[in-house]
Amino acid sequence: MPAFPKKWLLVVIALAVLVPLLHPLFPDTVSDYRLFLVSTMIIAAIAVLGLNLLTGFNGQISLGHGAFYAVGAYTAAVLMDHLDVPYWATVPAAAVVCFIVGYLFGLPALKLEGHYLALATFALALAVPQILKYKWLEGLTGGVQGIVLNKPEVPFGLPLSEDQWLYYYCLIVMLVLFWAANNMLNSRSGRAMMAIRDYKIAADTMGIDTALYKTVTFGISAAYTGIAGALSASAIAFVAPDSFNIFLSIKFLIGLVVGGVGSLVGSVVGGIFYVLVDNSAQAISLFVKNDLGLQFDLSAYTIFGILLIVLMYLMPMGIVGGAYLALRRLRRG
């Protein structure tokens, strides 16, 4: 897939930076609530990017990235709650912790391929809430109750609201992370990652240390998703074990499949998509009930599930990949 044109990228970034500043002009369109929603989309995009690095670019299937998200969120929460670490310092801390955890999980994962790796990570995703409630960790994690935090405060006396600042904070982190991922993928290491995905044996014979690359990719991927977790802990100002269940991992998978497996732009589209559906599920359910007259509570996961299956048939490359193919066909015709 070709890179997103640089010109357009700059336009999008400029818009992302400037639009929130229009708040005084259009207080309803650019409301704090909407900015907060966009912040959660940014966080989702980072998490999906983490999964994409592993599954899309390195070919290792993970159904358990919710676990690394949880580790990142709890690392941030514990640091802020127990050690009074400032919120911006929790991001690198979460990255380091998640890198180590992901690297360690990547070691046994080396022996597993395809379905078996999916199974091991599926098991991890199911076990996460219980691990977080483990009695010995209770002093740290707050057990079932979780940890209540404070929202990030606006620094340097900038004339921004809390949600505006949160938005810029998330945006900066995302831009840095996507820039880093893009550079990594276009380097020797990135090509090695993709070579392992496409043909492991050939990569081996070319002298690529596949074991090292796979475990390090697992670590980097976990670090990305963990950073998203840390950001979400700051944004929601609350962590609790039961929010990191198997369905969180399924949401990341949705983002991955909808956006496009192995596409950076797709990760953003996927993240935006799953937050949107998750947030409008109630509206959709009301629409089904009132306008279509069906007595049925349609939930977001029914839509997610149907989409997962349908997309696998119609657009295995995700929406971004599908749109690109369609565009190319149009141009040719």
Partner: protein, 301 residues
């Protein structure tokens, strides 16, 4: 000692459930090489079907049989409609479709029957059943029912022409096709049977864990662990693995309890059941992927 026997018995009862679900997983695995992540949610859906029938006035066993037959039909339909086109698809696509099925079953059950936890009746008479102080009537009943189902499946696969054809289709599709076995339909039948066996497990366990859309999550994980312990390609192994894992699960919790009593240090208890399953899964996958009775897969480079 009595407590130990109680734990052993309830471990066997859980093991019977795990054995059923593990068997369903293995049936799909041997014929298509797919791990069905939606098996637990399919079983949960079947259990809701039987609950619905009972709330419409059917007796337990009528609801039981109708739900099992319906699950069989649904299983066949799912295979024909959703999984058939994916025979040669990459692993990621297959896994994603299974996760999609999981999400659909779970959310549909929640939408139709709500997420409130429901009580589920037990068909086994309270008095004069079971051994007092060791095994409860429902637990004994569960073991008996699953043993009957397993026996039935054994006879079906071992002694009937259809069973033989299904085994042939799973082992060597090309050759089976050459001798006139309709391999495609055999796979669909296998899916149907797996769904039906899963339904039996769901209906039997619902009295113990109560009925709600998330009831099978932990059970599915233990069933995977059972199938792996027994060697994932081996149906008999899956059953034995189920009983082993069921007893192991309860023994770990029991041992944790005893240790806490003796030393006051909490290590492991009922709250760590899924973590124990996770450890079993990863341990078997990395240390002995063939399990106890499975064949060692040799890969050609």
């Amino acid at each position: 000692m009595e407590q130990f026997l109680q734990q052993l018995a309830s471990g066997l009862a859980n093991g019977a459930i795990y054995a059923c679900v593990a068997l369903a997983l293995v049936m799909i695995y041997v014929s298509t090489d797919h791990l069905n992540f939606a098996q637990g949610e399919m079983a949960m859906f079947s259990t809701y079907l039987s609950w619905q029938l009972m709330s419409w006035g059917a007796s337990f066993w009528v609801a039981f049989f109708v739900a099992v037959v319906l699950s069989f039909v649904l299983g066949v339909i799912i295979e024909r409609a959703i999984l058939r086109p994916l025979h040669n698809a990459p692993v990621l696509s297959v896994v994603v479709v299974f996760i999609g099925l999981l999400a659909i079953c779970n959310s549909m059950a929640g939408a139709i029957w709500s997420y409130l936890i429901k009580e589920f009746p037990s068909p086994f008479p309270k008095a004069s059943f079971g051994i007092a102080g060791v095994i409860g009537p429902h637990q004994l009943g569960v073991v008996l029912v699953t043993l009957i189902v397993l026996g039935f499946l054994f006879v079906f696969f071992r002694y009937t022409p259809l069973g033989l054809a299904m085994r042939a289709a799973a082992q060597n599709p090309q050759m089976a096709r050459l001798v006139g076995v309709r391999v495609d339909w055999m796979l669909a039948l296998g899916w149907g049977l797996a769904a039906a066996v899963g339904a039996v497990a769901g209906i039997m366990v619902a009295h113990i864990v109560y009925l709600d859309p998330n009831m099978m999550g932990g059970i599915l994980l233990y069933a995977f662990a059972s199938a792996l312990v027994g060697g994932i390609g081996n149906p008999g192994g899956a059953v034995i693995g189920g009983f082993i894992v069921g007893v192991l699960e309860n023994m770990v919790a029991y041992a944790g309890n005893q240790i806490e009593k003796a030393t006051g240090v909490y290590i492991v208890g009922n709250g760590e059941k899924l973590t124990v399953a996770l450890i079993i899964v990863i341990f078997v996958l990395t240390v002995k992927p063939a399990g106890l009775f499975g064949r060692v897969a040799v890969k050609r480079v």
